[in-house]
Amino acid sequence: MGGSSVLCSVVGPTEVKIRDEQLDKATVEVVARPLVGLPSVKDKAREQNIRETLEPILLSGLHPRTLIQIVVQTMKDDGCILSTAFNATILALLDAGIPLKSILGSVTCIIDAQSNEILLDPTTEELAQAKSTHVFVFDNKSSIANNEDIMDQEELLANVLFSDSTGSFSEEEYFECSRVCFKAAQAVHGFIRTAVEKKLQKEYQQQE
């Protein structure tokens, strides 16, 4: 996304350490790694954000007593790294064939300190000038339900899987951001769909 890129790998369902074993569902482990150096507090927070968002949409009950390990490696950080990590993770999960309830799409936006405008997918430079930063994650159930343009605020928020905001902002600003990000997330969902379709077409071309 923009100038940022993240490499994500998914291993699983695989053997789990007895210590981490859960009898009724799979253990989800997320490891976030920075480009250089040791994982910092920020990386640990990112790990927890991703794991807590994914756990409700992963059907971990289908693979009890196993481990699903997700490794998120930052390759290049130029703003909205958390959104990039979310989108990379969901693509990796789809490719690995892990059962999911729905897919997600993540978008970051900022409110510019000078112009008070909402900016999508900010770069590091733009982030520095932001009054507030918002990260949203939407699932694809909502994109199906909202085709009839029911942009009710409450319904909109019911489909948010994750939201993280920093800085100072008003309530109206927050809802405006979520509306803008929701629209942008549709593009992310569309991209995921075309990516999967392209890969499947390659696989099936021999059989026609």
Partner: protein, 246 residues
């Protein structure tokens, strides 16, 4: 619900993503199928909390009118055992009652020492650690280790199951393994025109090859691995160039 109906009405493979909902009977899409009250769900489809049926894996939605069965054909690399599938396993341990086999799933599978053709308590085959066995999954359950057998339980005959001697095993994706099992597979037919070889394909993505020369084995192995994302014409030229180099 709209996305899936659009896919169904257009021609070509119907691609579904996790969260896409299977159309209900009222949509009129099931009219060609005998409207059996029972729908059988295969891999990749799950009933959701709100009584709808949704895909849980990305792949191609398939439907068989016989028995009104629906499933999603998807590709992955990790094997999850299912009853009745033929697989290739490596012996990794042996106890008094069971062999422990690595089948590429989360847990090792168990193969009873007596589950071979004509095996009795007195007279049973002995397999060393590292031996390759071609077997059938006799029981698969998400909460337990899979159980295997090396004979057909209805006839008591081996039916081709048993130890694979000599040869070479390599790993492919599960989707490719499924395609290789089809007797019409292009890459195996093309290879068969140039080099003689034996092969056994496990649903767990393990493919065993036995040929006269190591050079042939390497060629076959490379050709099969390369063929996964190639079209028919590309596949032909790929095999041709590999054989010419031999």
């Amino acid at each position: 619900m709209t996305s899936i109906t659009e896919d169904l009405s257009s021609s070509g493979p119907k691609i579904v993503l996790p969260g896409d909902i299977l159309p209900g009977p009222e949509s009129g899409l099931l009219d060609d199928a005998p409207t059996a009250p029972v729908i059988k769900l295969g891999p990749g489809l799950q009933p959701m909390d709100d009584d709808t049926i949704a895909a849980v894996k990305a792949g191609v939605l398939k439907h068989a009118a016989v028995g009104n069965r629906w499933w999603v054909e998807s590709n992955q690399r990790r094997y999850v055992a299912a009853t009745g599938e033929s697989i290739i396993g490596v012996v990794i341990g042996k106890s008094a009652d069971y062999y422990k086999l690595d089948i590429g799933a989360a847990q090792p599978a168990l193969l009873g020492v007596l589950s071979f053709e004509g095996a009795t308590k007195r007279n049973k085959p002995d397999h060393k650690v590292g031996a390759l066995l071609y077997c059938r999954v006799s029981m698969a359950n998400k909460d337990m280790e899979a159980e295997l057998e090396c004979f057909n339980p209805t006839t008591g005959k081996a039916d081709g199951y048993g130890e694979l001697k000599a040869g070479f095993v390599f790993k492919t994706s599960l989707g490719l393994a499924r395609r290789l099992l089809d007797p019409k597979t292009l890459v195996l037919r093309l290879l068969g025109q140039h080099v003689p070889f034996e092969t056994a394909v496990g649903m767990n993505g393990k493919v065993w090859i036995n040929s006269a020369k190591p050079a042939h084995t390497i060629l076959i192995c490379n050709a099969v691995k390369n063929s996964e994302f190639l079209g028919a014409e590309e596949c032909r030229s790929m095999v041709k160039s590999l054989v010419e180099k031999l």
